[in-house]
Amino acid sequence: MRKPNWRRVVRAAATASVIGVAAVLWHNLPTPDEVYGPFDVEAVMGQQATGRDIAATVTGARIAPQIRMERLRAPTLDALGTWVAIDSEAIATRTDAVTRVELVVGPNTYVPTSRLGVLPLTGSLTPGIATRSSWVFDVPAELVAQRGQHASLRVWIGDGRMDSRLVVDIPLDDSRISRSDLIVIGPPTLVGT
């Protein structure tokens, strides 16, 4: 008659519990957003938001079903929903950089349209020269029709991981939001600082 080998029993129990704990941990890992997420720099329309590598001010917004560039023979383009042009001034603060932009309206996220070609603010920004132009989005009309609705513009450089991201709150019934039949995107204004 032999006593049970407690060392072996403990070893087996420890192995089983390590596998069990690993499984629980594996099912509850932090999301990549929680690990690598950007650091939001919050601002409201009319206020400058300054991040590590970009600064921007939203000065107003225009909403219309049609849009055209202010140049000869530029076609007038219909939106699938409605056009939302966010008029802004932006400047890179460290090095030449291409912005990444999203407009969050209700539950949805939108990126700038490519149908107008590359607009100055979606191209490369330069340190020391502020660019005044617009980011243009195509958004379902009903999302921007409601009173009291807010949109949120997010602007960042690169892939945004563990870097600053500008988040600008835009109240859609503010007096600086204009609604018309046609948006005309004029030439950009470049201002040396």
Binding site: P75, L77, S114, D159, G160
Partner: protein
């Protein structure tokens, strides 16, 4: 006094040890298999993998999970024009394959419409930006809640497919996942897709 309990426990252990000692290779293999299944089950090892292939046809809507997509027709051309604007010029040995489709984004994120669509069996194929049928503007991502009729475009070898051929197309299901880096995104299913055959026509 302890002897009774101790001896009972010892007997059970001894019996168990004796039983194990009687195991042959077959039993140990089975035990090993059960151990591997139990250990991997905790990490999703026993999750169902069902390959689902749906047969569909031009004019029928297929829901990828992110897009409701209806393929209408396929066209093979030497160059791509939108009115008097040249989008892609003639090149020796190459042609352009267009797939006209109506697409609705039913998700909450913007998405590129050509991502889930895969023309099968064409080597050396390169995707070009999708083009709106209505005005020929290049449309990158389609926003959530929006519907558009677009031409999905590919640059293909001239001898890979011809007018009158039957083009095999796979439209992959898509799943919303967290990206490997950060944020949410859509990834293609590796098992589920719709397959359809589209006759390749001339430009209209």
């Amino acid at each position: 006094m302890e002897p009774a309990r101790g001896s009972a426990a010892t007997t059970v252990t001894a019996r168990f040890r004796q039983w194990l000692a009687g195991w042959g290779l077959k039993e140990w293999r089975r035990a090993g298999l059960v151990a591997v299944l139990v250990a991997t089950a905790a990490f999703g090892g026993l999750d169902t993998v069902n390959k689902q292939i749906v047969d569909t046809k031009p004019g029928e809507m297929f829901d990828t999970g992110r897009f409701e997509m209806t393929v209408q027709r396929a066209t093979l051309v030497d160059e791509v024009r939108a009115g008097d604007r040249l989008i892609a010029g003639k090149r020796p040995g190459r042609r352009f394959l267009g797939l006209v489709a109506t697409v609705r984004n039913t998700s909450t994120l913007p998405g590129f419409m050509d991502k889930p669509v895969d023309p099968v069996g064409i080597p050396d194929i390169h995707a070009l930006p999708a083009m709106r049928l209505a005005d020929g503007t290049l449309t990158g991502a389609l926003g959530p809640g929006l519907t558009d009729q677009v031409v999905l475009l590919w640059d293909v070898p001239a001898d890979a497919i011809s007018v009158g051929a039957e083009l095999q197309v796979h439209i992959w299901k898509e799943l919303k996942r967290l990206n490997a880096t950060y944020g949410q995104g859509w990834v293609q299913s590796v098992t589920d897709y719709a397959r359809l055959t589209v006759p390749v026509g001339r430009p209209r």
